[in-house]
Symmetry: C2
Subunit: 470 residues, 2 copies
């Protein structure tokens, strides 16, 4: 206890006593996460206001062998941002570091601190007449630092890449408290190893990202959004191919929605309505964006007509207003939430090569018939990136707890199929605690060895987010 209170005082001397939270009620919001799958304990929540303060805190942790759990908006879905129950770690909250350091229109870059909320970064770009295209469900509370630490994905990846692709440079604090100054506006810089990408996606286990220089894009002049009914995932993949051929880089969303998912949303989300007259087995939310204000609408129409003629598309609605566009997107965005009303749901954030997606989905459906009779597969998401959220809702009327108790078994069955297709068991959410023990079973052994060697090299005392990823 004396050691603990000494440490708390030392952290307070760095960040200000008021920015070290130790009262259980003050800490509660940092020690569990929205889905309440993980709860932890901590010595305290330390809230630095600058990179120098982060460095001093990390240095002190390194000297005192105090584990650090970096945390942004606490929206992660795999428990990466929550400490274990030992109570020996600190949560290092980056939330006070939310400054816009610079926006450079000619270079199309924006340098922000790690704690800036994603929606604020989008808004700052928008105010400057630019687009910052990272977009995901939790954008109102997740932070840029967390987005980069987890290499976040979302709906814009098909056109703009994931978080990694949107960062030109980063600043990070290493395990010994040194500051890696890797902020850069340069698109081309071949002076040595790619250090930036080692920290991005490492979930805070190799360093603490404190700031980043992000790419900006021109705001699209024209956006066209279609809600499309199709017979099958194979038709959706063929439509994607056609869309690529006809519209190339203009495709800014290609989201798959199954009939059952739409039914759940229509049943449980107030104001939701089907844009199409009939029911279809599958749907695609397709969005095209262009700098060229003219011709995008007719081109989308032509594409859909061509797809209809070859039997790929059964019906389609094109948004005639911004309100209609928003209504289409709400159907997509509420898919996960609507499942809550249908009882327990077992999640899979997986990806396969796009070409394999139809066969993969069929195999998953078949395996579930045996492994979980009556369970309802709600397979949706970023088909344009091969990333499908295979969420499995419990059978109608089944016992929720009994169904959820089968989480590991059902994961195992689905992941076995993913592995068979050379896919990924975590396309965009990361490993965190949730998939840590699974990782060595599915990952190339040499890759695992390399990861462990990198961890030892960059964090020899193992203070950075221990128990996560590895």
């Amino acid at each position: 206890m004396a050691r603990q209170s000494g440490l708390v005082a030392a952290f307070g001397a760095i960040v200000g006593a008021g920015h070290v939270l130790t009262a259980p009620s003050d800490m509660a919001g940092y020690l569990s996460e929205p889905r309440d799958l993980y709860r932890g304990e901590a010595l305290g929540i330390v809230r630095p206001a600058s990179t120098q303060e982060v460095a001093a805190v990390v240095r002190l942790c390194n000297e005192s062998r105090t584990p650090i759990v970096p945390q942004g908006g606490n929206t992660g879905l795999v428990g990466g941002q929550i400490p274990d129950r030992s109570g020996g770690a600190i949560v290092l909250s980056l939330q006070r570091m939310r400054a816009l350091r610079e926006i450079d229109l000619a270079s199309n870059t924006m340098t922000v601190e790690a704690g800036m909320i994603l929606a604020h970064a989008q808004a700052e770009a928008g105010r400057a007449g630019r687009l910052f295209p990272l977009s995901l469900a939790s954008e109102g509370s997740c932070t840029i630092g967390g987005n980069l630490a987890t290499n976040a994905g979302g709906t814009g990846v098909i056109a703009y890449g994931n978080a990694r692709d949107l960062a030109l440079g980063i600043e990070a604090v290493l395990a010994d408290g040194r500051i890696f100054c890797g902020l850069s506006k340069l698109k081309k810089d071949n002076t040595g190893y790619d250090l930036k990408d080692l920290f991005i996606g490492s979930e805070g286990t190799l360093g603490v990202i404190t700031a980043a220089t992000l790419k900006l894009f021109p705001k699209p002049r024209a956006v066209e959004t279609a809600f499309i009914g199709l017979p099958s995932p194979a038709a959706a993949v063929a439509l994607l191919d056609l869309a690529r051929e006809k519209a190339g880089g203009e495709i800014t969303a290609f989201e798959l929605i199954p009939r059952i998912g739409l039914d759940f949303v229509l049943a449980h989300v107030k104001g939701a309505r089907n844009p199409l007259a009939a029911r279809h087995e599958w749907h695609v939310l397709l969005e095209l964006s262009s700098q060229n204000a003219e011709g995008l609408g007719p081109r989308l129409l032509d594409m859909l007509n061509a797809a209809a003629e070859s039997g790929l598309v059964e019906d389609a609605a094109i948004a005639a207003s911004e309100a209609q566009r928003a209504a289409f997107w709400r159907l997509r965005e509420h898919l996960s939430e609507a499942q809550r009303f249908e009882g327990g749901s077992i999640k899979h954030d997986v990806s396969v090569a796009i070409t394999d997606a139809p066969a993969f989905l069929e195999d998953v459906q078949n395996v579930l018939k045996e492994a979980a009779p009556g369970a309802r597969l709600v397979a949706f998401g970023h088909l344009g990136d091969g990333n499908i959220h295979c969420n499995v809702s419990q059978p109608v009327g089944a016992d929720r707890a009994a169904f959820l108790a089968r989480w590991d078994a059902i994961n195992e069955a689905v992941h076995a199929i993913v592995i068979r297709y050379g896919g990924s068991i975590s396309a965009e959410h990361g490993i965190g605690q949730l998939k840590r023990d699974l990782l060595p079973q599915v990952k190339d052994k040499v890759a695992m060895d390399l990861m462990r060697a990198l961890k030892r090299t960059l964090d020899p005392q193992g203070i950075l987010n221990p128990g996560k990823v590895l």
Copy 2:
């Protein structure tokens, strides 16, 4: 000698005796490079035919502490592919590994071996109706493995990124001979650290890349190319901004050409002619590509008219045929070669933030006036990426050798300006031998320490391309 001939025999047992070259005349082509800045000696040239053979060769080198210099097409510009003069190393030529392992149209990927020549990769993609957009001067002889090892750039980076951005996955042999199986068609895979990007751009010092899964793109339906006369680099940057605003992702080339560079080409390259009636201080080669066959030409014309009205553009020619387009490109492509006719030339492959490019060029011009009176700055290249090749031709009539003897001093003067702008001293060519001693002077100290730590971790015996990068 006994040890050497024993090793040669052992390599021969792995790859076949005929594929270990030891006669000086057989080795010559592997031991110097086109510009003849570097010459080396070797124990032998070892030419494996498979990843397994590479692994066995590397294992043997690791056991016998024999340095390995991996080599692709031997086109590198910084000496990374040439051994030192000790004669103790082997050159590991990947040229026999040139198979197309798979092309997957639905996933838009192509898996090729490291020794495939870039132009062949482009052609394979083209035969399948796709585009592989990496394009650089040496594409007829450089290899995919070398492109990835050096993170090659070229003229398509503005639209498609550099080599790193075009690789979804790689296969590589580690220093101890283990094979890292990181081939993947997945666009999204957040299962642990980004290992691929550690090897890409490490110039063979962390592992030997043996194969890669590359991204393919649809072939553009329409391409429009303009040769534009402008008053200044500032006008070129403003034109780029305008082009981004009007044509966003359709800009597939934005190359800067100075008056003196065009004059050199017109004087020395047979058949070259100025597409514009008058002479201009600066030029831009602008190319737009689109999946939409219609409207691109008129849109380019509108953009140029708008730019002319605001004084950014003085004159412009739009290619009316494929032959004309090729003629425009020849002017750009011969800039470097044409300089040879003007005597010695001191090269700088640098980048700065695009917004800084005009002031940077002015500063370079001013510094050269003092540091090398009469020397002629030929600043050209990928302005759309902030990457400018600041080549300095000797004063008219000056002594070539005396001028070239000032290489280091003039480099130092130019690099000092690059550093002041937070730029890169190697935008696309890498570090190799040429800039190895310079690197610690310009790079963040913590970054250097990290690089050294990674090198020790991945190649503890220091057998992989020693003396390069670090």
